[in-house]
Each structure stands twice: as structure tokens, then as C-alpha cells.
């Protein structure tokens, strides 16, 4: 009897471990091969290491908060974040697959050094000033106030921006402005995006991209 109980426990443990292993396997399979329902391999656009692709607007996924990634995939299936490439892919993922793939990328420990920016020093200084201190006379808080010191992210809702692709950051700020993206909690980003000038958007995107992500 006792032996049986012991065996059952062992079996349960084995099943749990297998499940975890399968979870990350599933994530890896999806990332590298996609699924048969129309979701293409993530790494084709987001890079083998999940660091994104400069110049194409494909964001870095590696090391981002898993709940944040999951939410984005869910939102791509709704109207709150529309994207001609990502919406069909996200719709082709099951709930279990969304979880697995978000988990997979969040666990890639990648200390991507900040990109060498082509932006001039003046623009980078402006970006640094905005990221660290904001522009309060225009009610723009510091990026670091919500995205964490060094923009390494805070919790499920404020993603890391350090080392993110500059053109992606720029695109997203513009998407909040024009309403194409409105999945930010309490429209916190929309307000900020509306008050940033074109130059400020360029400056802050270049600066944040140049930062090296530090793990929380």
C-alpha cells in the first residue's frame, strides 16, 4: 500500500517534470519551427537568440516578462493591437502554445549589449535626459519612472526597453499616437506618446536601444 502510494507520488512527479520539459520543448519548437496551423517560426523574424532585427522593426523578445509577452500575443488576436504580420500568427496559436512560447523567450538570458547608435551625440543626450528625467513641463514622466532604472522593466505591465530595437520603439510610440496600438493599461503610454515631439521620439528610441539590459 505504502509502496503503491510512493510509486504514485513518483509517477506524479515524473509527470510534472515531463510536463515542464514538454512546456519548454513546445516553446522551443514553436520558436524554431512554428506550428502546422499557420504560425511561422518566431526566430525567422525575431532572430535565433530572440534579439530582434534592426532596421526591420522586429522587436527583441529575449528576456522580456512572460506575462507581458502573453498579453501581447492575446492582444494581437483582438483589435487592441493590430499588426498585419503578428495578428494572424497569434491567432494561429492555442492558449497552451502562447504560454509556452512566451515562457521560452522570457527565459533566454541574453545580455544584449546596447546597439551602437548612429544617432548624433546631441540626440543621444536629449534621449538620456528624457529617459532619466522626463519633460515634466509637458507632463512627460521619465521613462525610467515606470520602466525601471536603466529601463530594465517593472513587473507584468512595464516592459524592459533597454536594448530594444530603436526602430521598434519609435514605431510603437507612433502607433500609440495614431491609435493603432491601444493595449496599454489605463492608456498610460498614449498620453505620453501624444506629448512627445518627433525629435524626442527619435532621441529616446535611440537612447533606450543603446542601453544594455540588466536582469531584474
Amino acid at each position: 500500500m505504502l509502496k503503491l502510494k510512493y510509486r504514485t507520488t513518483l509517477l506524479t512527479m515524473l509527470m510534472v517534470f515531463t510536463h515542464i520539459a514538454m512546456g519548454s520543448d513546445l516553446g522551443k519548437t514553436l520558436a524554431t519551427q512554428g506550428n502546422s496551423k499557420g504560425a511561422t517560426a518566431c526566430i525567422a523574424c525575431h532572430g535565433v537568440d530572440g534579439s530582434g532585427l534592426a532596421g526591420a522593426g522586429f522587436p527583441r523578445l529575449a528576456g522580456l516578462n512572460p506575462a507581458y509577452l502573453e498579453k501581447q500575443l492575446h492582444d494581437f488576436t483582438k483589435a487592441s493591437r493590430t499588426n498585419p504580420m503578428m495578428s494572424p500568427i497569434a491567432s494561429a496559436l492555442s492558449e497552451k502554445e502562447i504560454k509556452a512560447v512566451a515562457d521560452y523567450f522570457s527565459k533566454i538570458k541574453l545580455t544584449i549589449p546596447g546597439s551602437k547608435s548612429t544617432a548624433n551625440n546631441k540626440l543621444m543626450d536629449e534621449g538620456k535626459r528624457l529617459a532619466e528625467n522626463g519633460n515634466w513641463s509637458n507632463d512627460v514622466p521619465a521613462c525610467f519612472a515606470c520602466h525601471g532604472v536603466g529601463a530594465s522593466g517593472i513587473g507584468d505591465h512595464f516592459p524592459a526597453l533597454a536594448g530594444q530595437q530603436a526602430d521598434y520603439i519609435e514605431q510603437q510610440i507612433l502607433s500609440w499616437r495614431n491609435g493603432q496600438r491601444h493595449n496599454d493599461p489605463n492608456q498610460l503610454m498614449k498620453g505620453v506618446a501624444m506629448r512627445l515631439s518627433e525629435t524626442e521620439i527619435k532621441a529616446v528610441s535611440a537612447y533606450l536601444a543603446s542601453l544594455t539590459m540588466v536582469e531584474n
Binding site: C146, G148, I154, N186, L188, G191
Partner: protein, 311 residues
């Protein structure tokens, strides 16, 4: 009968007139010992804030500049004084946004030129040093840095520098928090709870506990042992409502309706927090002496009387 009683009282008063004055003086002295730096500020003058404080890059590169920088650093990261003068998880900048520069967020350039000031409450002239010390006692739930200490001197120097060009003794638009007009409905804790969940919990946590990253608070706790104590100005519902309306959520100032700001302020301030340091173990008496304003000190909320302080 009342007339008779009144005449009697009048007679006694006439007979012991000097005694009454003496008693009154003695009482005044007792109250004077109970310093209350948290008296409400006069309303800021109407109008758009036009004062522009100097820019960080203009801090002079000399000993004075060093004091300004040290003061700014203490203001931003007051936690470096944790255990010495700070007893909670807050930083000055939590309630004075943009390093104490933001108009309508009790900017330092709005406060500094108004001191020294006579305060009826303690019947004497108070300096800016004493006002800042009050912040440490109440808002920071700690103990005041002594007069002449390098910390207090640096903070005063930072105040002074930010006020460069402001006229002494002239109240500027943008000082303090813009007083929020009373609304039709009284502030409601239960309505405030819903507003809190929808707008504030994302940063300050579902239980107002704040959010920590790498051991530091990214978003401050709003009640509980890590927050300001029952003597801080922010525990008043009206002060909190005015601050919230003009400054919260970050990046979305004036986005809540007046009623929402009042309600959420009531919700925030209807929770237990560190005790009032002036309390001598009798919150009924402390409430009578120091809390005759709009607050929940000594009141029952959800069957629990508030004011005993967090342990």
C-alpha cells in the same frame, strides 16, 4: 436658569480674570511644545505657473554646487538616510515630482521663498529648516536631521538654488497642490476602492503596498508600515485629493474627475499607517488636539478604529 448660570460664570471670570489669563497662557505653552509643522498652507494664487527653476547643468562647479547636488541626491533617493533619519520606504520625490520642480506638485521653489513664516499653531516663527525637519518626522516617519547637519544644510541649499530668481515672500502660482473644490457627493471609500483598482493598483499594488524592483521601491507604498505616518499632511483627504487630481496617475495629470480624486483619496487614507508621533498613547486625545481636519484618524472603518499605527 441659563441666564443665572451665565451670570455666575461671568462673576467667577471677573473675579479670577488674571487666573484665566494665566491658565490660557499655560495652555498655549503646552500646545507650543506640540509642534505641528503640518498646518495647511494658504491657497496658492490663481494662474498658470510661470516660474522656471534653474537647470541642472547650471549648478556651479564649486563647494556650493556640491551642496546643491548632495541635496538633490538626498531629495531623489532619500532612502540613503534610511535608519538614520528615514523610517519608511519613501523618497521626497514621491510627493514632489520632478525632483521638487514640478508646479502643482508642491515645488520647492514655491515653498522656499515663503519662509521664515509665523505659524499660529505653535505661536512662533518657523524657518525652512524646521519645515523640512517636519517632513522627516511625519512624511518620512523618521527623525529630523539636526540643524547644521550636512544633510539638512544640503536640502536647504537645494531648495534655495531651485528658487533662484523667485521673489522672497511672494506666493507663486503653482506652489503647493491646487486646492480641489468640494464635490456634490461626500468622498466615498467604497467608490474610491473601485477607482483605486482600476487606475492605481497597476503601480501601487492591489493593497497599496507599492512595487519593488531589485530591493528598491519603483512605486511607493501608499499605506501600511512603509508609508507616511498619521502626522503627515498627505493623510488628510483634502491634501491627498488635491495631489492626486493634479499629479496622478504619472503622465496623466487631471485625468480623474474631481469626485474620483476625492473618493480615491478617501480610500487611500482609510487604511492603517505608522502612528502619529505626537500620540502619547491616547488616540482620542491626539485626534482632538491634532486631527480636527478632514481625515480618518481615530475613526472606525470596517469596524476597526484607525490611528493606532502599524506595528
Amino acid at each position: 436658569m441659563f441666564t443665572k448660570m451665565f451670570t455666575k460664570i461671568k462673576n467667577i471670570k471677573m473675579l479670577t480674570g488674571s487666573g484665566f489669563i494665566m491658565l490660557a497662557l499655560a495652555l498655549t505653552n503646552v500646545t507650543a511644545a506640540e509642534k505641528d509643522y503640518q498646518v495647511e498652507l494658504p491657497t496658492a494664487p490663481k494662474g498658470v505657473a510661470t516660474f522656471v527653476p534653474p537647470s541642472e547643468k547650471d549648478i556651479p562647479k564649486n563647494a556650493f554646487g556640491e551642496a546643491v547636488r548632495y541635496g538633490m541626491s538626498l531629495f531623489n533617493n532619500t532612502q540613503q538616510l534610511r535608519g538614520k533619519y528615514v523610517g519608511n520606504d519613501l523618497n521626497c520625490v514621491n510627493c514632489h515630482l520632478d525632483n521638487g520642480k514640478q508646479a502643482d506638485s508642491a515645488p520647492l521653489w514655491g515653498a522656499y521663498p515663503m519662509y521664515p513664516a509665523y505659524r499660529k499653531k505653535n505661536d512662533r516663527v518657523n524657518t525652512i529648516d524646521e519645515r523640512i525637519q517636519g517632513c522627516f518626522t511625519y512624511s518620512m516617519n523618521g527623525s529630523p536631521p539636526p540643524f547644521g547637519s550636512k544633510e539638512l544644510t544640503a536640502l536647504v541649499t537645494y531648495h534655495y538654488w531651485l528658487s533662484t530668481g523667485a521673489r522672497i515672500g511672494k506666493a507663486l502660482p503653482g506652489r503647493g497642490y491646487p486646492r480641489l473644490a468640494k464635490t456634490k457627493n461626500k468622498p466615498s471609500v467604497s467608490r474610491g476602492k473601485k477607482i483605486f483598482s482600476a487606475n492605481c493598483a497597476i503601480c501601487h499594488g492591489a493593497k497599496g503596498q507599492g512595487t519593488k524592483v531589485n530591493g528598491n521601491y519603483a512605486f511607493p507604498p501608499l499605506w501600511g508600515k512603509g508609508s507616511f505616518n498619521w502626522g503627515a499632511g498627505m493623510h488628510r483627504v483634502n491634501t491627498a485629493a488635491s495631489f492626486i487630481k493634479a499629479n496622478m496617475p504619472l503622465g496623466k495629470p487631471n485625468s480623474l474627475t474631481d469626485q474620483e480624486a476625492w473618493d480615491v483619496a478617501a480610500f487611500m487614507n482609510s487604511h492603517e499607517r505608522p502612528g502619529d508621533p505626537r500620540d502619547k498613547g491616547d488616540i482620542t486625545q491626539t485626534a482632538k488636539t491634532f486631527h480636527k481636519h478632514q481625515c480618518f484618524y481615530g475613526q472606525k472603518v470596517d469596524g476597526k478604529r484607525l490611528g493606532n499605527g502599524t506595528k
